[in-house]
Symmetry: C2
Subunit: 315 residues, 2 copies
């Protein structure tokens, strides 16, 4: 028996056939084309799943259930996406729609960040952890919480918004309306903003040469410059690490998870990022004298986490 896992992303819809050990047997994807509206997107999602099954000589009857990892506030009890502003949905019965289109009885849903955290907790970097928290450093700072193998998202399914913990009161403007949210500092977007601001101050910084101009700054620019001995680049990296460590320490003081895993492109800096983070968190976390310390590590499932997490939603 297999599970059908679907990761509904802003850019692509990815679907995977997943076995009982949560290995992906086969996967495929199509562009989301979110601007066309959710009804058309769902037609494409169903067609993608049917083609994936056919290409692998399977039928929908071979799937125990389907799971969807979706953006937005996902009511896992009702199968309804209550609100999503990326792919626009408002009280959209996404599970029922897919169920009818595919002719499969059981369709489970949850938020994409929560689903990715579930995948990491079951078969990824946090495998076997009694409590696991996943942080994703992307356009924003995403959060997912898994306790005893179950996603925690609060009584209204809207919790785990770890990026929206204010760490600098009255600080940088956040898209959520507040000021000083962790994600304004520690997302890839935050890093790019810090880099641009420093470049505007430091006209002789190597960062100008490395990225080719202010409009092509990336999350790598400051790290590359620091590695080459650039002072301004080092200042950006040190500031970024300081804010990221502050937010991670907050999360650890709240959850004391067995594993805290970090995903997103910024993590490609590897130990160059992780080592100083561990050092600061190790010094600052409230339980620093405890024999048991949270393991801080990179997420390992990458883009597959959504598919695997979606496929695990019915377990």
């Amino acid at each position: 028996m297999y599970y059908l896992g679907i990761d509904l992303g802003g850019t692509n819809i990815a679907a995977g056939i997943v076995d009982e050990k949560l290995n992906i047997v086969a996967k495929a994807s199509v562009p989301t084309g979110a601007q066309r509206g959710i009804d058309v997107v769902m037609d494409d999602m169903a067609a993608l799943c049917k083609k994936l099954l056919a290409d692998n000589n399977l039928t929908i009857a071979d799937m125990a259930y389907a799971g969807i990892a979706s953006p937005g506030t996902c009511n896992s009890a009702t199968g309804v996406v209550e609100f999503s502003n990326n792919i626009v949905m408002y009280n959209y019965p996404i599970a029922k729609v897919l169920s009818e289109k595919l002719g499969i009885e059981k369709v489970y849903i949850d938020n994409d960040a929560n689903s990715a955290a579930l995948a990491e907790a079951l078969v990824g970097s946090a495998k076997g952890a009694s409590c696991a928290v996943m942080i994703t450093l992307g356009t924003g700072v995403g959060g997912g919480i898994v306790i005893d193998g179950k996603i925690y998202s609060g009584f209204n399914h809207a919790g785990a918004e770890l990026g929206h913990i204010v760490i600098e009161k009255d600080g940088r403007q956040c898209t959520c309306g507040r000021r000083g949210c962790w994600e304004t500092y520690s997302s890839a977007t935050g890093l790019i903003n810090m880099t641009k601001e420093k470049m505007a101050e430091a006209k002789d910084s190597l960062m100008w040469e490395l990225c080719g101009g202010i409009d092509t700054v990336s999350g790598k620019t400051a790290f590359q410059a620091k590695r080459k001995g650039d002072k301004a680049g080092a200042e950006v990296v040190d500031m970024y690490v300081s804010y990221l460590a502050c937010g991670l320490t907050n999360v650890i003081n709240v959850f004391q998870p067995e594993v805290l895993c970090i995903g997103g492109g910024v993590c490609n800096e590897g130990e160059y990022l992780m080592a100083p983070l561990r050092e600061i968190v190790g010094k600052e976390n409230f339980a620093r004298n405890s024999d048991k310390q949270t393991t801080i590590t990179r997420a390992t499932l990458g883009n597959d986490a959504g598919i695997i997490g979606a496929a695990a939603l019915g377990l």
Copy 2:
């Protein structure tokens, strides 16, 4: 059948006989005298329990179990207080010690803030909530998290330190070693510090008259002054409310608890405090457009929460 609930506090040891509906049938207390060391304190705790039982014509055999709400990091699985700096304990097998002194087989333990939250979630202000968070505004800002009727405190039992979320990076010095922790702003201590600082600036403030001098400032001083139209007092209250609302919004964005209850002396200000808090949190929380909003309310069990929570630890 009854449960024996013990609240081991910095000032007093309180013990209660609690029935199956978690009502306190009888209670008594003695001073802790923590400076005498934990061994002597435990003698007094056992004597207190024995006297309480005798005074109520009961014996230890009438108790299904005993529970202890203790300060510090309490390993509920082993019955050991791993670390407490208030009443000094380091890997102290408190459950075993009380078990032997009282001749009762089962003794459960947990942290005092967690136990109080459990009591509120079971029979207090958060009764029946699928997820409840309790915040206590005292010397520090205490936190307790109850999910599906169970205390959540992380894999090492040291979590739920909600007061140690930094909300102003590089801000006020906290006793935990970090700077800018929520508790440095929103505890009663934080309120008193803010009041003193404002009084030093505003020599003509009514606050001087109300409290009788800088050394007798209390958590009530600024609230009293604001009520009487004092500008400086109003500024202190508004600043205090702003920081408290910031931290509460953080907690709600993370947990989206069905109920968030607030305890501690500052709450005696009642709706004068709660109404503006609800207004700010209602505007700022990430899920403000959801149909389901966290109920923010005062804790109702007061000083009994520790006894009741302790008595509920074995349920």
